[in-house]
């Protein structure tokens, strides 16, 4: 398993061509996809064409950091002309007529797209098992989930079915699957990456980000996809030209916040031990650990789900069986066409969330639910601001447990929602967070530690994650 940095060196030294590299990844993806189900669509012909163009660019001396690097893309990010399903029956045959801005930016670099990866339907879930195309599996144990919603992307990276991947994160959907699959995933600061062409779930929380074999690779991808975009009013020019620039700088004297609520009841002992061991590593390297408190954490799951579902109920109103997407047969009226198309086209979890969001926004409940959730979100912002006034970064578990068995939790939405406790606040506040492997449980399943920093300090979380990764012995996936 090679990092992007290593592959770049091999391509530039002509030790391998992009076409050869792409064929290697495609062959591995073809041979493993039956078992892992990481990809919904594998784009062999398109990928080889892109690789050929990349080889020309390399030969002409015009290679950029991602030229010729084979990537996978979550199936909710639009690539023009390539089926983009959102893992839903609703969009089973949808072919976007434009590229997401993140894809346009990767095109400028000459990256290669191997295919579109599996996920929870409309990015709603933490296991990827709500996919209309069947759930992907964890490469460390194929009886277990890879996490979600970017489970296919994380599984593809862990199983070496791509060099790195794009995911999206609304409440932990990059970080939690990265933790479950033993890879590194970065949710950038909200606004760093344009959301144009990312199929919307909850627009004030959604963010595209990388999943890769190292924090440095995440930084290399972020360098390519970050930036202000006129198509997304919430995107920002962050003023950062290189998100890997702090790599190698010492952590000596830095203050690391350890919020006590993240280490209480509900977090597995093995997870706690591994995260404490990671904290100890930083302490031994001169950093200071500071116990802090986020008392509002007890409202994190409820406020997140109320806001995310409220936004989802609005965003998903566009699927009406008329302009694009699934359409029911033989509807006798316009109203029946819309209602039946939506009932038949959306899976159960998506329908549950639309109903919940509609409930939270409906007359008589708005103040009690939506407005309260917004107030809690403001409180989270205040509490995090106060922490980052005193500390450089914050260290927490990425998930309360390791990856669970595929048939566990699936029929219990409340249990599934509660499992998001460690990740949702980062989206509510909008801060950058990276998850990197920090240990393995008694069954050899990966455990992830999350490192967060203040808004637009993405380079800092990459620095800390890289510092930890350089001494951590990773165990390869068993597949």
């Amino acid at each position: 398993m090679k990092t992007i940095k290593e592959l770049r060196g091999m391509l530039d030294k002509k030790e391998v061509s992009s076409v050869e590299l792409t064929k290697e990844y495609l062959d591995r993806a073809d041979s493993l996809n039956g078992e892992v189900n990481a990809y919904i669509t594998i784009s062999r012909d398109e990928a080889l064409d892109e690789a050929e163009r990349a080889d020309k660019k390399i030969a002409e001396g015009g290679a950029l950091p991602l030229t010729g690097i084979p990537l996978a893309v979550k199936d909710n990010i639009c690539i023009e002309g390539v089926r983009t399903t959102c893992a839903s029956k609703m969009l089973e045959n949808f072919k976007p007529i434009y590229n997401a801005t993140a894809i346009e930016k990767l095109n400028e670099q000459g990256a290669v797209y191997l295919g579109k990866t599996n996920m929870d339907e409309f990015a709603m879930g933490g296991s990827s098992q709500t996919s209309y195309f069947g759930g992907p599996k964890n490469p460390y144990d194929t009886e277990r989930v890879p996490g979600g919603s970017s489970g296919g992307s994380a599984a593809a990276v862990a199983a070496d079915m791509c060099a790195a991947a794009l995911g999206s994160d609304t409440g932990g959907s990059i970080r939690q699957p990265s933790s479950f699959c033993g890879v590194t995933g970065l949710k950038p600061t909200y606004g760093t990456v344009s959301r144009y062409g990312l199929i919307a779930f909850a627009s004030s929380l959604d963010q595209i980000g990388p999943i890769a074999n190292s924090a440095e690779d995440c930084g290399i991808i972020l360098n390519a996809i970050a930036g202000r975009d006129r198509h997304d009013q919430t995107s920002r020019d962050t003023g950062v030209s290189d998100y890997t620039s702090l790599i190698g700088e010492s952590v000596k004297g830095k203050k690391i916040a350890m919020p006590k609520e993240f280490f209480g009841e509900g977090i597995d002992d093995e997870v706690k031990e591994s995260v404490f061991a990671a904290a100890k590593f930083f302490e031994e390297n001169g950093a200071e650990l500071v116990e802090v408190s986020i008392p509002t954490l007890k409202y994190a799951v409820s406020s997140y789900y109320l806001l995310a579902c409220a936004e989802a109920s609005s965003n998903l109103a566009r699927y009406d069986g008329v302009k694009y997407g699934y359409r029911t047969e033989d509807a006798e009226s316009f109203d029946e066409l819309i209602k039946r198309s939506r009932y038949e086209g959306f899976g159960r979890e998506v329908k549950r969330r639309i109903l919940l969001g509609t409930y939270a926004l409906s007359s008589g409940y708005y103040d009690a639910y939506y407005k309260k959730a917004m107030a809690v979100r403001q409180q989270f912002i205040k509490e995090h601001k106060s922490i980052f006034e005193k500390c450089d970064v914050m260290l927490t578990p990425t998930a309360p447990t390791v990856a669970y068995k595929c048939d566990e939790n699936i029929d219990d939405p409340v249990k599934m929602y509660l499992a998001d406790i460690c990740t949702v606040t980062s989206n509510m506040v909008g801060i950058p967070t990276v998850s990197t492997p920090c240990g393995y449980d008694k069954n050899g399943m990966p455990i992830g530690v999350s490192i967060s920093a203040n808004h637009f300090e993405d380079a800092k979380v990459i620095q800390f994650a890289d510092c930890f990764e350089k001494q951590f012995s990773k165990q390869a996936a068993r597949i």
Partner: protein, 94 residues
């Protein structure tokens, strides 16, 4: 407690036609989920809309200018039913 009547109203607002025989299952799930959401009632923070508008990092708005969009064919090809570049829907008026 979410009644079938409440759920029917939510379905109407959400534009979802859930068959009668499935309503009870959905009502039970929604009840459990709303039970979890009710924990937010214990919080006593006040929402400040002005503060929130500052917290959302909106950039400058783009110019309100016309742009030629050339891919009408692509739009039509994604529609499940069209005729002569128009979307087809059931009759709306008699």
């Amino acid at each position: 407690m979410i009644t079938k009547e409440q759920l029917n109203l939510l379905c109407e607002l959400s534009k979802l036609r859930i068959p009668e025989e499935k309503l009870e299952g959905y009502a039970k799930e929604m009840e459990d989920i709303i039970g979890l959401m009710d924990t937010i009632g214990e919080s006593d923070f006040e929402y400040d809309p002005i503060d929130m508008s500052r917290a959302v990092p909106f950039g400058e708005l783009r110019d309100d200018a016309d742009e030629v969009f050339g891919n009408m064919r692509g739009i039509v090809e994604n529609s499940p039913k069209t005729r002569e570049n128009q979307f087809v829907v059931p009759k709306v008026v008699d």
